[in-house]
């Protein structure tokens, strides 16, 4: 019987010819990641409780200082120090210091550390992001990560696969973010609970790798274990000169079994948002246009790569942030910030009256640099808007794509980008 990409990767990791949904397997991990909130407990569990002295393969581990770093207070400085010391003691090869890395889910792909066909785990729920690069990637806890550090292996339940087919192409202004928000709105925040989301179809072949990463990033917002895409020329081109190891792409067999197949006409998907207080609370932009805002945040592992910033800058160029609104722009990595500087994007942001920050998860999880107060309304390019996610439980967060966010910062209310910019310049759209 045929297998899906997800099943093939787990079977290889487990050293078996085949696996089926529901099987519990012990599988070898190809790459593992942790950050300043998850490394301190993982390190302590591994050394003090499991009694392991070293990690299985320091060349296959990345550590980022991104969640509460640069340290937002004394307690997070301690977490940063523990993360730094553990990485040094263990000889972790891919340690990214403050100011040199950024958000894990941008840093790992841009450094070619997570590759097609691989089994990747990260002690962060958005680790599913990497699946756009044709691998199995999933979020785990700190005890899980300690187990991987000690043994190089971890237990997995082989998930049922759901197939999402996207016909035709996205319309003008409509981005990968709008598409995934629409899909989550259709299936719900538990619509893919513990399952694999396999994305295929014509619409995906016409979007770049950064847009694909936006889609797999939000698999967890539908409750999925992983999101995975096909290997194609876009994948190959992205990895050329970047991949740190040889890799073998994986394909699903024609007779692979899917629990369910969902078909979407990408051309019919409109610009949209997720309304408060849940990522599945989808509404077309027209329904919420005019909603008054206190803050606009462009950032996070979902939508703050260079292509996202280019679109935001194209909208903001020559405009000012509306009175009464604050716009905070946080690049998702140091490399993204360097590129934004080269292209003159930072100048556009600063001239518009935006606050430009260093690369960090920051405001997305209500950490720092943009935490919301009681009753405030925010439009954000992030991934989650459950109560309290970005600060006060009574703050209201709408999720959107970066062009919508930029246009809304200019007007002060939720706005179609076409009202601020006639047409997205070719090569940026």
């Amino acid at each position: 019987m045929g297998m899906t990409k997800t099943e093939k990767i787990l079977a290889r990791g487990a050293g078996r010819d085949s696996v089926a949904p529901g099987d519990l397997v012990l599988a070898k991990v190809d790459f593992a990641m942790g950050h300043d909130l998850t490394i301190p407990p993982a390190g302590r569990i591994m050394r003090e409780q499991m009694g392991a002295e070293k990690i299985w393969d320091p060349d296959r581990v990345a550590v980022t200082q991104d969640h509460f770093q640069p340290a937002k207070d004394a307690a997070s400085a301690t977490l940063g120090r523990l993360t730094r010391e553990f990485s040094h003691d263990m000889g972790i090869k891919w340690y990214f210091e403050v100011g040199q890395g950024g958000i894990c889910h941008t840093v790992l792909p841009e450094n070619g550390l997570v590759l097609p066909g691989e089994l990747v785990v990260g002690a962060d729920s958005h680790s599913c992001t990497y699946g756009a690069l044709n691998n199995f990637a999933t979020g785990i806890g700190s005890t899980d990560l300690a187990c991987v550090f000690a043994l190089g292996e971890l237990w997995f339940r082989v998930p049922e696969s759901l197939k999402f087919v996207y016909h035709n192409r996205l319309k003008e202004w409509v981005e990968a973010k709008d598409l995934i928000l629409y899909v989550i709105g259709q299936i719900g925040v538990d619509g893919a609970r513990s399952k694999a989301m396999e994305h295929v179809g014509e619409a995906l072949r016409h979007i770049d790798m950064e847009a694909r990463l936006t889609m797999t990033n939000m698999a967890i917002e539908a409750g999925a274990k992983n999101g995975i895409m096909e290997f194609d020329e876009v994948t190959r081109a992205y990895l050329d000169g970047r991949a740190k190891r040889a890799y073998t792409p994986v394909t699903s067999d024609p007779d692979a079994t899917y629990e369910k197949v969902f078909e979407f006409d990408a051309e019919k998907v409109e610009l949209g948002v997720a309304k408060p207080m849940s990522p599945d609370n989808y509404a077309p932009l027209s329904e919420v246009a005019g909603t008054k805002l206190d803050q606009v945040f462009i950032g996070s592992c979902t939508n703050s790569r260079i292509s996202d910033l280019r679109r935001a800058a194209a909208v903001l160029d020559g405009h000012k942030v509306a009175p009464g609104v604050r716009l905070i722009i946080t690049p998702s990595s140091h490399q993204v910030a360097i590129q934004a500087e080269k292209e003159g994007l930072i100048g556009i942001f600063l001239a518009s009256g935006a606050a430009w920050t260093t690369a960090t998860c920051g405001a997305c999880l209500g950490g720092h640099m943009g935490v919301l107060g009681e009753g405030e309304v925010c439009l954000s390019t992030t991934n989650r808007n459950f109560p309290g996610r970005m600060g006060h439980p009574k703050a209201m967060v709408y999720l959107s794509n970066p062009a919508v966010a930029a246009a809304s910062a200019v007007t002060g209310v939720i706005t179609h980008p076409g009202e601020v910019l006639k047409k997205m310049p070719a090569g940026i759209a």
Binding site: Q49, A123, T143, A146, L151, S194, F386
Partner: protein, 180 residues
């Protein structure tokens, strides 16, 4: 830590899709290494449940609807609930990382749509972990839990992933000793 076979306690009832930011707001992640401090803030992010942890009597049972623990991978979510004095969690269903984290900690976590529907806040419950049966003394009902696969049962019985890894490491060391 080994878990008692039979647990008795009063229920606290929560709704569907309670995410990890509600279970333990991210700002408390600075206390990642302090279970007691985390426990003081458990469920604080759930609207209307401010100050909940202070009302918990050790041994109480948390009951929730579907997709409990969705959102982030933070292991401090089940740790905070345990830290608040909750003896075990019963839900209609769980988000997968929360589920993994609880199993890995050896923390009892039961899945029973029947129980999640039938139990009201304040009901007196008795849970037989070995038999997988929940008795509701207040309502006179009895509910059955879904059985775990053998490997997960093994982990729970051993006290979680930590002792399991210790055993694996021991076996590897022995094997390495024989070949040396």
């Amino acid at each position: 830590m080994t878990v008692a076979q039979v647990v008795r306690g009063k229920s606290w009832k929560f709704g569907a899709n309670i995410d990890t930011d509600q279970i333990i707001p991210a700002k408390y992640a600075i206390y990642s290494l302090d279970e007691k401090e985390l426990g003081k803030h458990a469920m604080e992010g759930v609207p209307g449940r401010e100050g909940w942890a202070a009302q918990v009597t050790p041994g109480d049972i948390l009951v929730a609807d579907s997709n409990f623990g969705c959102g982030s991978s933070r292991e401090i979510a089940p740790i905070a609930i345990r830290g608040a004095g909750i003896s075990l969690v019963i839900a209609d269903s769980y988000a997968r990382i929360f589920f993994r984290n609880a199993i890995n900690m050896g923390y009892p976590i039961l899945q029973s749509p029947q129980a999640a529907e039938g139990i009201s806040e304040g009901d007196e419950l008795e849970v037989d972990l070995e038999e997988g049966i929940i008795r509701n003394f207040t309502k006179g009902d009895e509910y059955r839990c879904e059985a775990f696969p053998p490997f997960m049962n093994e982990l729970i019985h051993m006290g979680g992933l930590v002792p399991w890894v210790r055993k694996q490491l021991e076996q590897r060391r022995k094997a390495a000793g024989r070949t040396a």
